[in-house]
Amino acid sequence: MPRRTKGSLEREVRAVLTAASQPLTPGQVRDALGGDLAYTTVLTVLSRLFEKGEVARETLGRGYAYTAPYDAAELAARRMALMLDDEADREAVLTRFVHGLQPEDEHLLRGLLSQ
């Protein structure tokens, strides 16, 4: 079987969770993917997806069971939420409606608004 890239594995894991009718444990996800992956690999991918807010999880026994409750629009919105932090490179490729204000700008603007 060809090696999967990080991104494609994440997509496959999400697809498995979306197709499932109930929450899946990492072991069940691994079986659904064909079983040639290490348990820890699947676990890593699931925790990463959870950190990114793309899947949800609930406690089951001593571990977690995962679900994918978001549709494409919600998923994009959750991912874009992470883009809100200012970061120099990202700042350079996004066109923001307004950037920050200098302290003296505040009075100026309040003055202009109250006219």
Binding site: L82, L84, L94, T95, H99, L101, L112
Partner: protein, 302 residues
């Protein structure tokens, strides 16, 4: 050769010094295009002039001279460029190359990251659940407009329309790409920083004017900009913005409250002439450099 190098540097410095001032008084679309194209020409000219200077010294390294089939001793004798200038040119060239590489890789990564984030999003406008009032557009083609829930809750429907119209103008006119070009040119030649600042402001003004036409009300656009800026400010968004963008929000608001700007074609013409001088002198540097190396060839093919 010395004359052409001095002329090329002079043309470059003239643009760097007067470009931002003149560009600031142009209508936003013209300012964006002329200053961005100008920045790219100046950056290219910077690289080329530095490369020719560096080569007059590098060419004397025995290994390079033997590979390139010219005489190191003759080059040393006939080069009009003092060694310390040539070595300085090499150092600046390497620094510029490194800065460009680092910036291009960083921006490239951010582009991929942003694109991945909205892959599969079914709608043009994505509303993000956040208590931070904010709105931005991602790069075109296929870009999206992102608005936070905090912003939509605080704005009236008419004001929301202004925000979307402004971001839609950024998307449709490919503003990110103009900004990126100016930004990368500035990596090559940091003297272009004020020019890049003016391009950033011009792009916002360009989108503001589009939004004003779309909603048919300049004052509404002015008020919306002021309100969103104050909302962001009140929400405690730190002003971690480059100093060059400071004071730009009040300027945008004032520009919208004044009648729409005139065209000033002669200002654009002055800038274009400056740029042509820069281009012509750069070509002259390249030619005279070429002639220098042709003259010192031990094996002349032509």
């Amino acid at each position: 050769m010395t004359t052409s190098v001095v002329a090329a540097l002079a043309a470059m410095l003239l643009f760097v010094a007067f470009g931002p001032r003149l560009g600031d008084r142009l209508p936003p679309a013209a300012a964006t295009v002329v200053l961005t194209v100008g920045s790219v020409i100046v950056a290219g000219s910077t690289g080329l002039v530095l490369a020719v200077l560096a080569l007059t010294w590098l060419g004397q390294v025995p290994l390079i001279a033997s590979m390139a089939d010219w005489s190191a001793a003759e080059l040393d004798a006939s080069s009009p460029i003092p060694e310390f200038i040539a070595v300085g040119g090499l150092a600046l060239l390497l620094a510029a190359g490194l800065r460009l590489l680092i910036r291009a890789v960083g921006r490239g990564r951010a582009l991929v990251e942003v694109r991945r984030a909205h892959r599969g999003a079914p709608a043009l406008v994505i509303v993000v659940d956040s208590d931070r009032p904010d709105a931005f557009a991602t790069p075109s083609p296929g870009g999206r407009i992102v608005v936070t829930s905090a912003l939509t809750e605080a704005l009236s429907p008419a004001e929301q329309r202004v925000v979307v119209a402004h971001e839609w103008a950024h998307l449709r006119l490919g503003h990110t790409w103009w900004l990126l070009l100016a930004d990368l040119a500035e990596a090559v030649n940091p003297l272009l920083r004020p020019t890049t600042g003016v391009v950033r402001h011009a792009v916002e003004r360009w989108a503001d004017e589009h939004a004003a036409r779309e909603v048919g009300n300049r004052e509404l656009v002015a008020r919306t900009i002021a309100r969103v800026a104050l909302l962001r400010h009140d929400a405690g968004n730190p002003a971690v913005i480059p100093a060059a963008t400071g004071g730009q929000v009040p300027r945008r608001v004032r520009a919208l409250l004044a009648p729409s700007p005139g065209r000033r074609p002669w200002l654009a013409a002055v800038l274009v002439v400056l740029l042509m001088c820069s281009a012509v002198t750069t070509v002259a540097v390249e030619r005279t450099g070429d002639a220098l190396f042709d003259g010192v060839g031990t094996v002349q093919e032509r």
